[in-house]
Amino acid sequence: MMVVKIDKQKWSSGINQLKSTYDVYGPAKQGKTYEFQKLGSEQLPDLTVQNTTLSPKSIVFPQSEKMFSFHTDENKSGHHILKEMNNQSMPKAVLGIRPCDAKAFQLVKLNFDTCEYKDPYWIRAYESTTLIGLACNNPCSTCFCTSTGCGPFSETGLDVLLMDQGDSFIAKSLTPKGENLLKTATWSDSFDPATAESILKSGKEKAESKIASRVKTDQLASKSIMKIYEAPFWDDVAFSCINCGTCTFSCPTCWCFDIQDETKGCQGIRTRNWDTCMSPLFTLHGSGHNPRGEKTSRVRQRFMHKLKYFLDKYNQGIMCVGCGRCVRLCPVNIDIRQICNMMNSYQPS
């Protein structure tokens, strides 16, 4: 572990240094919202935003990603045979990612990096990305990260943790990747680790005390899947849902995708796109039969997956980091906090 102090005077020069080795991403205004973007040559991350509208998951898992190319010209060799695309890019550095979004990558990794199969697209992108987190001194009212095994100063999944000290950042590297990044940026003013820890500790306590929003998850594991699945509240929970993809697309832990072929003339690509369990199309059989044809079953799927199936399958907590995006963005106010508490406290009669 290495702790340095980054004087804000050296912030921009360090970032410019990074840009020769990394594609540097950070929050920036895009249209009317703030999103993580690849920063231009003189552009700095806007660290005044709390949580960006969308999560930064697309840096590792783009909404639309090319998997293979092919051609169908039978007069040329190799027709109808898929070829891997060269998706390689510079290593990426994500500046100002929030601890919740970093932890989300750890949860998503359980899906894409398994003992039987490795998803090469996600894994390559993830491995070439360095996450420089910014501790949240002022969490939002919809943040409930302290209930999800995370928190405003959580270090899980981060390579560097930054704490804003006004005219400087304290930067604590947590992995060799993080250490490399600090060196590349020539942020090297050493800082006493023990002092850093005590500053972080008091910052953490202060930030956590500001989080008023909590969910209870302690009873979820002990309840049977079928009991919660058959609970009477799902119709009410789902009533207002309009089946859009806002919750799933903005969520840092939602990973579901679709695979599609696109062709133009004899040239084609196979791509994958984010998909959403809220869409009836997601599970529609060719025959017309749909195992989750009703809205209630789709809404239930989303919450059961996040709060019960995932928990049972991996024993790594719930598939939610408490970033609050779905709570803020749902056009009809479906609130995962309420539903989590209902599931947790549900007692079948």
Binding site: I81, L82, P120, G268, D275, C277, P291, S297, K308
Partner: protein, 281 residues
């Protein structure tokens, strides 16, 4: 890193019409690279993604048996975009196969047991694979009695008719073919729905007897109580599910029933396992 989404290139060796209404065709594929055939080592009950560049992929149960070498075989029902396109493809065309995917029928468990195979309609593909596998001279001694109850709407809708006739002549397997109805005077087998024939022909339950069921939902719905009546424990009833799939390797998120992924944890489950999961299939 090996890319699990990359199909093995194959050539269509042969296409045959499998049913009288032409809604099913059987495709034999040959791997362009013979080494790929070795990598594609499968067990009866597994499936693969048939990959048609430009159209997409579809998960289909493997109809050939691991004991059949030099090709892999699939029988495909024409239902959606990819299958409709596939039905127009011909011998010599190049496409891809990705797999083998999913678990298989539990062959270790089934060794030394009586097996009752119950199939309906065009869900007989992996059952054909299983029968051919069990009847292989090297494997037949590993199993006790084998019963097969197989029904279709009409005689012309039965898959693999030549093989059925051949098995019918053997004495180491009991074939009970049935059709919903027929006016064919030469039909010498059963007439009636699969559940009814199961009740009449299936051996009674024992700790050493396992039933494998594949068929349309309505057949499964009515066969299950019959097997219960015959005394079959739910962990002696083995079923294979179908759900919409894309990745086939447990990542894309759509085929789950509860926490189980049909593509990776299945498609084969015992009824007692299914009792513990939501019926989202």
């Amino acid at each position: 890193m090996q890319n699990p989404y990359l199909p093995y290139p194959v050539r269509i060796d042969n296409v045959t019409i499998a049913t009288e209404d032409k809604s099913l065709k059987t495709f034999k594929f040959i791997f362009l690279d013979p080494n790929d055939e070795k990598k594609f080592a499968y067990k009866a009950g597994q499936f693969a993604e048939l990959s048609v560049p430009g159209k997409g992929e579809i998960p289909i149960g493997i109809a050939s048996s691991p004991t059949e070498k030099g090709f892999v075989m699939f029988t495909v029902f024409k239902v959606g975009l990819v299958t409709a396109y596939l039905h127009n493809m011909k011998a010599g065309d190049i496409m891809g196969i990705r797999g083998p995917l999913g678990n298989s029928y539990p062959w270790d468990l089934l060794q030394g047991k009586n097996i009752v195979i119950i199939g309906g309609g065009f869900a007989f593909t992996t059952l054909r694979s299983s029968i051919v596998y069990m009847l292989d001279p090297a494997n037949r001694p590993k199993f006790k009695d084998i019963h097969v109850i197989y029904g279709a709407r009409s005689p012309g809708m039965l898959l693999y008719k030549d093989e059925l006739a051949e098995w019918e002549r053997r004495d180491d397997i009991n074939i009970h073919m049935t059709v919903d109805r027929t006016d064919d005077p030469n039909w010498k087998y059963n007439v009636g729905f699969v559940p009814t024939i199961t009740e009449k022909k299936a051996p009674s339950a024992s700790p050493d007897t396992y039933a494998i069921i594949c068929g349309p939902p309505v057949m499964i719905k009515f066969t299950q109580p019959v097997l219960e009546k015959l005394g079959y424990d739910h962990d002696h009833i083995i079923m294979s599910l179908e759900n919409r799939m894309k990745c086939g390797i447990g990542m894309c998120g759509r085929c789950n029933i509860g926490k189980e992924l049909v593509c990776k944890d299945g498609p084969v489950f015992t009824l007692s396992e299914l009792n513990r999961t939501p019926r989202e299939y």
